[in-house]
């Protein structure tokens, strides 16, 4: 290979020599002019990239900074632009990206370790390894929207493996408690007319199974009420169609209609889990994992390759097992590079919109997620949502959201740059 390289070098140099002779006949004046002009064009074009960046940042800052406010950071996305905030989206981004990092880093670094540090000796083994390598570089080129489609099928609906049962309930779940919610008779304005001290109250009857039919109110049933964030048992009276409704305001507050139809509600613990995942945080994190996994693998591979093999030999020569070499020597030496690559990959995950849009859709989210299956939105998606609305005011909020997003990303990039700088200093 180097042989042919040298041949090529010679050939090219000879060509250049020939053209140089021709040019000499043409006169060197014009050649110097071409060079000068070309240099000017280059400088102009390079300047264009700077101008574009300045223009881009400038226009966004000009639109966004006036709308920056604490409401934006802490508020919920109200329909009124002046009160709209992005807190649920920011919280969603934090949830999705942290979980994404937790699952992606081990798998990505593990794959890089496998390819770089456990090269197989057998012919078949090396074939499989080069297949994995080829596969990773191709995965890096798959558009993120396609990963969104995969996430939609593989995580949200889990290939429809979990059939819908006869009650219309899908899949399997743990960590959820179900209640049937009744309202008291006091909420009927006709009955409470002219009474003092009657308030609307809600009573919760526990449901053993989510597939159970609606609870029928019975005298003396176990029923609870939320008071001070606690479920407290209460005694209620059930008023049948023939009975006269109580006239005492307190009694009326504690009475429900025997024919009342409850609403089914659920309380989900922080560990709530269900299959299929549905349009929850976990689906989003796993889908983003698909997007950034190839990026993390490729950058970790580069970091591992830059560790001099003499270090590995040194540890191996002391009788370290392959994994001891990796754990004690290779990984620490490659850590800054792996971290730089991972931070850059995470900043890509933070800004990634298309796959989340595919799997989560545009939904109105008022709360930060509370468990892995909770519905969510992320900051870039919220920005997309605001941008695609017709009202001008939302565009300013979108710009302010972009300023926040870019702020987060720039600080991530800054950390990566500092790490890389440290690493270079260490090597020198």
């Amino acid at each position: 290979m180097s042989q042919s390289g040298t041949d090529k070098t010679e050939e090219k140099t000879a060509n250049a020599l020939a053209s140089h002779r021709r040019d000499k006949l043409r006169g060197s004046e014009s050649r110097m002019n071409t060079d000068r002009w070309f240099r000017r064009i280059c400088v102009m074009v390079a300047a264009v990239s700077v101008i574009i960046l300045l223009f881009l940042l400038g226009s966004i800052i000009q639109q966004g900074v006036p709308s920056l406010s604490t409401t934006l950071l802490t508020g919920t996305p109200e329909p009124d632009p002046s009160q709209a905030g992005a807190w649920p989206a920011i919280a969603g981004t934090i949830w999705v990206c942290s979980i994404c990092a937790l699952v992606t880093l081990p798998v990505g670094i593990g794959t890089a370790l496998l390819i770089e540090e456990f090269k197989p000796r057998s012919r078949w083994g090396s074939r499989i390894f080069s297949l994995i390598q080829l596969n990773i570089s191709n995965l890096a080129g798959v558009p993120s929207v396609v990963y969104g489609i995969l996430g939609l099928t593989a995580f949200v609906s889990m290939f429809s493996l979990f059939g819908v049962d006869k009650n219309g309930i899908q899949g399997f779940e743990v960590g959820a408690k179900y209640f049937d919610q009744f309202t008291n008779l006091a909420s009927d304005p006709f009955l409470s007319m002219g009474m003092e001290g009657v308030e609307e109250r809600y009573f919760l009857a526990p449901v053993a199974d989510r597939a159970d039919p609606p609870t029928i109110p019975k005298q003396g049933m176990t029923i609870f009420e939320y008071q001070n964030d606690q479920l407290n048992p209460v005694k209620i009276s059930v008023v049948g169609p023939e009975d006269l409704p109580p006239t005492d305001p307190v009694e009326l507050s504690l009475a429900i209609d025997a024919n009342a139809l409850p609403g089914r509600i659920s309380e989900k613990a922080w560990y709530y889990f269900r299959l299929p995942f549905g349009r929850g945080v976990l689906s989003g994190a796993l889908t983003l994992m698909l997007v950034i996994l190839p990026v993390i693998i490729i950058s970790s591979q580069e970091a591992l390759r830059s560790v001099p093999s003499s270090l590995r030999d040194g540890a191996r020569g002391l009788g370290a097992t392959p994994w001891q070499v990796i754990w004690n020597i290779t990984l620490p030496a490659a850590a800054p590079g792996i971290m730089t690559g991972s931070i850059l990959a995470m900043s890509r995950a933070i800004g990634e919109t298309a796959p989340i849009l595919i799997i989560a859709g545009i939904v109105y989210i008022r709360n930060a997620p509370h468990h892995l299956m909770d519905s969510y939105t992320v900051l870039p998606l919220q920005i997309y949502n605001w941008t695609s609305r017709p009202q001008e005011e939302f565009h300013s909020i979108a710009a302010a959201g972009i300023v926040v997003l870019l702020g987060i990303l720039l600080s991530f990039n800054a950390i990566a740059v500092i790490l890389r700088h440290r690493m270079q200093n260490k090597i020198n």
Partner: protein, 326 residues
Amino acid sequence: MSQPVAVPDPTKIALESRAKSLLNRPRRRLAATRFSEIGIYVALICCGLFSLLITVSIIGVLLTETTRFFQFDEVTLSNFLGSAEWTPNLGEPKSFGIWGLISGTLLVTGIAMAFALPLGLVTAIYLSEYAPRQIRNFLKPILEVLAGIPTVVYGFFALMTITPFLQWVHEGFNVYNAMSAGLAVGILCFPTVCSLAEDALQSVPKTLRDGALGLGGTRFDATVKVILPAALSGIISAFLLAVARAIGETMIVALAAGSRPQATLDPRNEIQTMTGFMVQMAGGDVSNFGTEYFSMYAVAFTLFLITLALTMMGNVVRGRFRETYE
């Protein structure tokens, strides 16, 4: 010169015997380590196979759902591959002609590449061959920042800044138009083209460059006659990877290009790309699991095949290029 008489140091002797006894102690047994090594190796192999599993499931999912799409009565393969009418929602006679979307994608990609390729290449040449150190150190981070900006930001920029600018220049531009989206995608691809092309130029051996300069050529001569031809395959692969990226770009076209699929060459018009259609479908326009929903998978499959072909070609060309010079 006389050597000092070696007096045996008692502490040294004590250390010696202590070290001996330490070294003669029974060593750690390897069996447990061995066992966990095997466990770790198996775990790593699972990680490696996971990436293969991703590809298999992408192809599997897209293939089965696309097959399901073609099983609908209103869908025919000849219509899909032979028509440019993409009307999944409107009107009674539904038509699924993928060319209606591909043409939109190609128009946007064409505009983007007409912008990004020449600019990216010239900037790469400047950075690699001309730029003084300080300017290089200044420009490279700027390119990195440009590459790290989320696409939704470019989409916002296209809709809020480029489009009004275009409309100010020429009144014929629609609010949603291919030109604006194309330019934004071009800006997005510019750093990719630039850094990949610069890598290619940088990996041309210094001897070639010095040879050309040593013969009295100007930098321009050296660049155009020697370095560019030598780096050509590397540059081509940069172009292919950038085209693949442009074709798969989603948020910019979803925001700025519009949602009316039509085969047109007029960049002032509203169009829809493959990615734009997928976002529209998933974004909630369609909730039932009807034909239009499954058409999303057919579009995704087409998109996947096109980008896969481009990426593979790009990687193969790049591999060849690296083989030649590294």
